[in-house]
Amino acid sequence: MRHEPLDPRPPEEDPVLHQHLVLLEQFSPRLGFADRVLLNVWLPLPPYLAGIRERAQSLLAARRIWLFAAPFLVGAAVTLVSTVVFVATHPQFVATAWGWFVQHGILVAWQAATSALAGLLATLLAMLGVGSLSGATVAAVASTAVVLWLVCAWGLSRTLRTDVLHRNSLHAQR
């Protein structure tokens, strides 16, 4: 491919010299040049991914977020593990629940899910030996847990809001 000159030649120039210069060959680097270059080039992330990464980095950089995020993560992990244990130890129940779900549709599935949760809760309480506790003690523990979750949720939302305000003020300063 001959590279086309961008500028017309001024008339006062030596036409013979021009002819020589214009006919000069354009050289090419060896095959695979683009690949060799791109191996050493860091391609930026698309904007939507860059935004998510920036957000995640700024959140992880804020230490106090862990005060609230940690209980949530622990809670989520405990729930997940309990569910897996329950499913593994009650296959018959899960099969029955699935059959009901398939047979009777969403309403039945909902009922099955709530029974499963109830079963899970009963199992957990049995595992923790809470069965022997009085109703008042269980209610107090449950209330404390609810309060703790509410505090965590409030703290998390505040932290996120403060972070957004901080970022906005930084953008405004720029």
Binding site: L17, R36, L38, N40, L43
Partner: protein, 200 residues
């Protein structure tokens, strides 16, 4: 994510914008557009294919890794040619320091080596290596361009081979417009003088 537009018909500015958004196809398009002009400029400046290849690669890596810092009010071509020319000039300066040291190259330890690498006053002929390179480059005009001072060489290549306007050449080389015109005028005169015997 939006699909890439027809990159081959897009302006440099648009392609750069796509590259900034992380499109590998846009990076490849920029390389496709400029690999030949940039390589040709550097090759004619340093007159060594391997070295030109390394410097061209270095230029593209530098430009593409700094694509976020590119200012769209300037031409992309000016930016990449400027970096390419600087790379070539730096290389020529380094080579000059190595080959024109009065005491020979710093790594020369034996008497023969010191003599071989020390400055040869009054010797303006081409070395065997340069002759081979000149032959590879081909025609008499290439040899004539190779004899020009690097500043003249860059001006004449950008003007006549790449067809860049004077003001862009001035931006690329960081020189006043008047200086660029003078260099091109002198370079043409030198080329005509060198090529005169061939015309007869």
């Amino acid at each position: 994510m939006q699909p890439n537009p027809d990159l081959s018909g897009a302006t440099d500015r648009a392609v750069v914008q796509w590259a900034r958004n992380g499109s590998e196809a846009a990076y490849r398009e920029l390389i496709r557009r400029y690999q030949r002009p940039v390589f040709s400029l550097i090759y004619r400046m340093v007159r060594d294919r391997e070295l030109a290849e390394d410097l061209t690669q270095e230029t593209f890596i530098k430009v593409l890794n700094a694509i976020d810092r590119y200012k769209p009010q300037f031409k992309f071509s000016s930016w990449i040619f400027k970096i390419a020319n600087n790379a070539a000039i730096d290389q020529l300066r380094r080579k000059e320091l190595q080959t024109l040291s009065l005491e020979g190259r710093p790594d020369a330890t034996t008497h023969d080596r010191i003599q071989a690498t020390s400055l040869q006053l009054g010797d303006t002929s081409e070395s065997p290596l340069e002759e081979v390179e000149a032959r590879e480059l081909g025609s008499a005009i290439e040899r004539a361009i190779g004899r020009l001072r690097p500043e003249y060489r860059a001006c004449i290549i950008l003007r006549h081979v790449e067809g860049r306007p004077y003001d862009e050449i001035a931006r690329i080389l960081d020189l006043p417009l008047g200086t660029v015109k003078t260099y091109i005028h002198r370079a043409r005169a030198e080329l005509q003088e060198i090529l005169a015997p061939l015309k007869e």
